[in-house]
Symmetry: C2
Subunit: 325 residues, 2 copies
């Protein structure tokens, strides 16, 4: 087993490698070779946060494993992925999965955008200026090239610094704007990579015809980023996991308000496999809402493991745990 | 994080320490401080075995974690437990959980016997002569002292060797017998610690009035060790996890045959907490059927971790994974 630390795995894959890994995983799912059961989340009754485990088997790739993540009040969130060889059962690696988690989310958003957004986009609007927003914008820019990106974040210096840094990094015109509405109005691509609170920050009435919306921030039952009108106006709603999106605050509100029914949500692998239709014309509004899946985690973990082995990274602790006949 | 290998954790706790740890965990569960959700099991659709993850939070003990186990055809079964400090979220240890798994099962069987069997027992009958049977008999002998133990295992040399070794180890008269029926008839304690197949090996018609039956071997849906008559004759059925016992082959057959209803199954913590009655008199037949829970795993893992720290065992890899604010 190779034990990999955050410093060893961060930035080990290029953006294109992360997107390719997620795309291959979704193709494997479309081919019926991925097993991604509902995850387990336990909220501590003593107020000490929560623990989640998400196992999956990728029969095509020949790997299996799980992500374990937990949030501790006042401390933060920790992530790990355990990766096993399916045929031999050997535990190949355990890796710190903080970097992987933000990147697989961004990479999945890029695949969702590639599947649902119009080919030609002019303006993009981004909500958020943190690490998640940075990863999201960088990934989206690998599949679509907006002429200009408007960015909103509540603190002026944050959005200004973000605009300057990302403009330099991506070579795209970036404009800080002073409201979420200003970022969203008239944008062909709209993306939310905020620190999710309990109230929506992105409202459907702002959306232009033809827009594609990416929402990756609000994943917990109590968290929100979209109002129900975003869902109501969306002609196609892509998701990474129907069941878990419906458990998110946004998904639950969309169904409760009657804006969408559960069966309206299309999983990305259904789009990739051609089982269900995506965007039909340039005027439709499309939405991709992501909560994260163990499939995405395991695809990236596999690619990270291979590169770590090539480069001789990590602590090899030998064969562990042992097998009982 | 302390990484502990099989050789380091095997035999680290005494039998009495394992029983005390499980008993304390069940008391914590009875006090409403343990969170033990249904586990996830994925059967590989490509024929490469299965993967199971079992998370739990012990709010009273201040720990949380999970067991991950997987079976690989032609290789065997591997187990690990990850143990976290609940308040800080630090991953304290990951340990090979092979030893722990057989011992927590035996320790739980001892607690079940202590709660359900008559105080005074004369004869005991044991099915099985492998490692699991050895651990089971050793644990049961800590809570009840039979005058004589009859042991059956299909291969004569196995049961003879087992009888000789355990007689010396436990100081109890051990008699190898040539059929399961001979072991079970007239026994006050009956225990099955076999390598479970797909057919019952222990039949209810053999049971004497007042007998207590322990069955720990058949945990998978396709596996069997008890016939439905064992369940039908049992006045009290104790289990470690009602839902998962009902998914086992024996539990499913008991309900399907009408021998018992789901609500007839009493969880051990309900007995410990006095919520539901146990044995009422010396003539009743009682059954304890175990499939294993993450609660049992985590109780033993906590005790193992503490002793490993005291003794300076294991590989300390530092704080891992890191926390994101």
């Amino acid at each position: 087993m190779l034990l990999l630390k955050h410093e060893e795995v961060a930035d080990l894959l290029t953006l294109d490698e992360t997107i390719a890994a997620v795309r291959a995983g979704l193709a494997e799912q479309a081919a019926g070779q991925a097993q991604v059961p509902p995850r387990i989340t336990i909220d501590s009754t003593s107020g000490h946060g929560w623990l989640r485990v998400m196992p999956t088997i990728l029969n095509g790739s020949g790997v299996m494993g799980y992500k374990a993540m937990h949030a501790t009040p006042g401390v933060g969130v920790r992530y790990l992925v355990a990766l096993y060889d399916l045929a031999s059962g050997e535990l190949l690696a355990q890796m710190d999965a903080d970097w992987l988690t933000s990147r697989r989310t961004a990479a999945t958003a890029a695949v969702g955008t590639d599947l649902l957004a119009r080919q030609k986009v002019e303006e993009a609007g981004l909500l958020g200026s943190g690490e998640q927003a940075r990863a999201l914008l960088a990934a989206l820019s690998r599949v679509r090239t907006p002429r200009r990106v408007k960015v909103f974040s509540p603190t002026p210096t944050n959005r200004e610094r973000f605009a300057a840094a990302m403009s330099e990094q991506l070579g795209i015109e970036m404009v800080p704007v002073d409201s979420a509405e200003a970022a969203v109005r008239d944008s062909d691509l709209v993306a939310s990579g905020v620190r999710a609170g309990t109230a929506p920050v992105l409202f459907g009435e702002w959306l232009a015809p033809g827009a594609h919306v990416t929402a990756i921030s609000a994943v917990r039952p109590e968290a929100r980023e979209l109002d129900a009108e975003v869902w109501r106006r969306a002609d196609v709603v892509g998701v990474d996991d129907r069941e878990h999106v419906l458990e998110s605050g946004d998904g639950a509100a969309a169904v409760a308000s009657g804006a969408k029914k559960a069966e309206d949500l299309v999983e990305l692998w259904e789009l990739i496999g051609g089982r269900r239709p995506g965007r039909q014309n340039a005027q439709q509004i499309t939405l991709f809402k992501s909560v994260g899946t163990a499939l995405q985690d395991l695809c990236l973990a596999t690619a990270i493991y291979q590169k770590a082995r090539e480069r001789g990274l990590g602590l090899d602790v030998g064969s562990w745990p042992h097998a009982r006949k």
